[in-house]
Symmetry: C2
Subunit: 531 residues, 2 copies
Amino acid sequence: MSGLFRPPRIAGSMRLFHDITDILSLREIIGATNLRKRTPEEYRILRDIVTSFERYRGVGNDIQLTLQERAANEVIMCEKKREYQKGILDPSKFAPGRHIFQVLHKIRRSPLFNILTKMPKGGALKVHDTSLCSTDYLIQLMYKEHLWVCTIDEGCCVVEFRFAEQKPTKGLHPEGQWEPIEQLRERRGEENLNNYLRRRFSMYQKESFENNAEAWRHMMGIFDLLDGLIQYAPVWAEYYYQALKEFHADGVQYMEVRTTMPQLYCLDGQKLPVRETVQIYQDVMKLFRKDYPDFIGAKLIYAPLRHVQPEVVGQYVKQCTELNKEFPGFVIGFDLVGQEDVGHPLSQFVEELIKLPDNINFYFHAGQTNWYGSHVDENLIDAIMLGTKRIGHGYTITKHPLLMQLAKYMNIALEVCPVSNQVLQLGSDYRNHPAATLIAENVPLVICSGSPALWCASPLSHDFYMAFLGIAPMNADLKFLKRIAKNSIRYSALKDEAKAKAMEKWKKNWEAWIDDVVKNKDKTLQQTPAK
Amino acid sequence: MSGLFRPPRIAGSMRLFHDITDILSLREIIGATNLRKRTPEEYRILRDIVTSFERYRGVGNDIQLTLQERAANEVIMCEKKREYQKGILDPSKFAPGRHIFQVLHKIRRSPLFNILTKMPKGGALKVHDTSLCSTDYLIQLMYKEHLWVCTIDEGCCVVEFRFAEQKPTKGLHPEGQWEPIEQLRERRGEENLNNYLRRRFSMYQKESFENNAEAWRHMMGIFDLLDGLIQYAPVWAEYYYQALKEFHADGVQYMEVRTTMPQLYCLDGQKLPVRETVQIYQDVMKLFRKDYPDFIGAKLIYAPLRHVQPEVVGQYVKQCTELNKEFPGFVIGFDLVGQEDVGHPLSQFVEELIKLPDNINFYFHAGQTNWYGSHVDENLIDAIMLGTKRIGHGYTITKHPLLMQLAKYMNIALEVCPVSNQVLQLGSDYRNHPAATLIAENVPLVICSGSPALWCASPLSHDFYMAFLGIAPMNADLKFLKRIAKNSIRYSALKDEAKAKAMEKWKKNWEAWIDDVVKNKDKTLQQTPAK
């Protein structure tokens, strides 16, 4: 032991630290010493080595901050510490220890959250196409012409919407009563109806769910309710433009949208071919990019429901191949969605899935469960073995050290969705989110939101806030945020040249934001934090 | 890729698997292949390699079961699967997904739990000495002679107990009123008072706590209430005998008890020197071993409170050194206890701690928090750097891959206390307990309970049940249980020869239990599981 400290090359702990970059050497040096026989000075040196090593490994520690970024970092860390101090004093005041339903509005008053809202976050790589726009916007749609509403329970429960010239005759509920929305509004009162619908469009309808299966059923019910409203072709276009607008306002410059690729309908009830759905997406994206030149673009991942037989997956694969041929560089990926726990595992579909041409990437949802060792958990194995480029959620991956190592080695990014995981009852306290281990182990990851509108959260900022304050270590700072933002471009489906251009666009906004944080330093620090 | 499957040595996946025993080689083989270009057959082989590799790494997979053990394993796994099936159908029916307060009694009706109750678990390595005995036993103590009770709020709130000839004059509460317990019983009614005290002696008094700080305050309050009752010298001896009896009945054959080493008092109020406390412990243990020859023994870990100045820790170290000299082989370890979040970090005490002679082991509590990157979290670093032999809780260690590797490499066992972590609000759903990662990574671990009496749990069986059903992977079986039981002897403070003898005693009970499980197979499987 004492010999370890004698040679001049290890006189300073930092010297030694830089010589040891892998965990194996370090554990051998420490493991080989008798830890009970040393001086306080030796102790401090060895301890410094370990803490430096840990700091060096975590996400973001490859980033070097500029002078201006350091100034911004001071502001950010000051606000972050303020929230910790409050939380340590009274843990019930620490937002990431609470359920989002209880703290959503409180978070909006947090100076740290407000800084994060303006932060250029790069891309939103995991979002589902019919849960993008705010409830406020959905309520606006209620005033569109030709909107019919179907109710059950003597008009008390809205179950479906439809745009049509004539009263619809068929619907999801045979016993439902169709009427023009104006009539229902008249009867129930405008404010009443809107408040009711606000609740119906979100997961807030219930304070808490008995279990994740119930939360899922509730969420799928919202999707069903939204379908008739959003899948009307003109609304579809408008909805998507609005989504891009809301995400862009939240610091998002690029999107990869998972879509079940529904057939849209017209006022006369006619259904359009699926290619029209894609065409609208592409037209709207181009229009938006014209209106907002700093926007990088958006792409689609075809992500139909997983609760089907292998033959159907075969048809999905064909459909995706065709759409990719018609929209190359736009329909770029494939996934399967819906509650994994009750769906079929990927392993059942392998023979069909490997037929997908390899210019189309897999971006599989996997391991969105807490049943360790179940076939759902094993989807992680199949996702990786099938060559997935990213993993949606991968909540259980920390229970699979080998898979975590493979993800790191093969550059597969985990799409971490903190708020979604809480609302769908995988976890409760953000401080226990498994992504902390991914951060420590420097496994590639991006922060995503999934279906933010369903929990009335910002497109991406609440997830960033929870990840930064609740999941990452206390000393995670601007380097962490910058790495996460850059990851969202690095692990996107953009090709090399486009990726470089995207990074340029992001960098421009990033620098402006940094200047803004520094400029508003005094204003920020003077704010009284939310109680 | 195709080359990979050509050479005869890797024709069968198992062959290849046995050649690759480390994660680095495996990730290189898989990482080097183009996963998008292979046949379904190649896919299956590679997938088998990965799943075998995972299975091979987990806790317990070094165990080979005998034929009789395999027969017992079938019964156990049948019951385990029955609980999973029910849980997957309706997750709210899955006990490890719920709070122990809600399912304590339901678990007692589970056939799986009943098998685990009888399982010889080896040693209980982490228990606190004043929270060992059941509430039923504490209520019995209420009928002892000379017991006085102190109440506040006009007799409504019991705050202290004391054995004395005369009415006590001083107490923790200056405003408190002392009276003989008989008088209070008379006034409030026997059943009422006992029911009230049952609640006061447990954490059940409140359905849930706002946060972990509140839960801790509540728990410390119970310890305060118990002190006057238990620290009466004659009761102390009786309490400890009863504790050994209850633990033994729960399948425990060995104990390492953490004690704050209180000075006991006599009927005249006189305080005994601390060595008397140890003497009583030793005498009782010897007596118990005589009465129950299959009992291996018990040892003490001196574990005073951590909320003190460094000088006081210096005194602790001296005290421990002296007691160890007087009771060698009985007072064998040192620790600091109390809520880590509000106590001082180990790093503040290093200079004092390294003075402890190295024949006394450290068994530090560390990382019993969810504040990642806090100084409490960093206690893990200091515990390991100080040469700790085991870590109490180590709840945050999975956020420190380096420390996890060090623990594995240096054979430091984690004392995992599932139920305690839930009650003290570190986690809610057992399926998210970080020990799952330790199990997957095969980090040394033992299952412990801490203060089971405070949550009315069995001495160790509820923790085993939660770990086996809720934390370990679905396919964890008797091999897992056997490894955990053996670990409790392997990572004990027993010396080599004593350890071998202990293992023999345990093995005898283990084999009898296995026979019993097999013999009762039909009876077990016919039971209707709890709804």
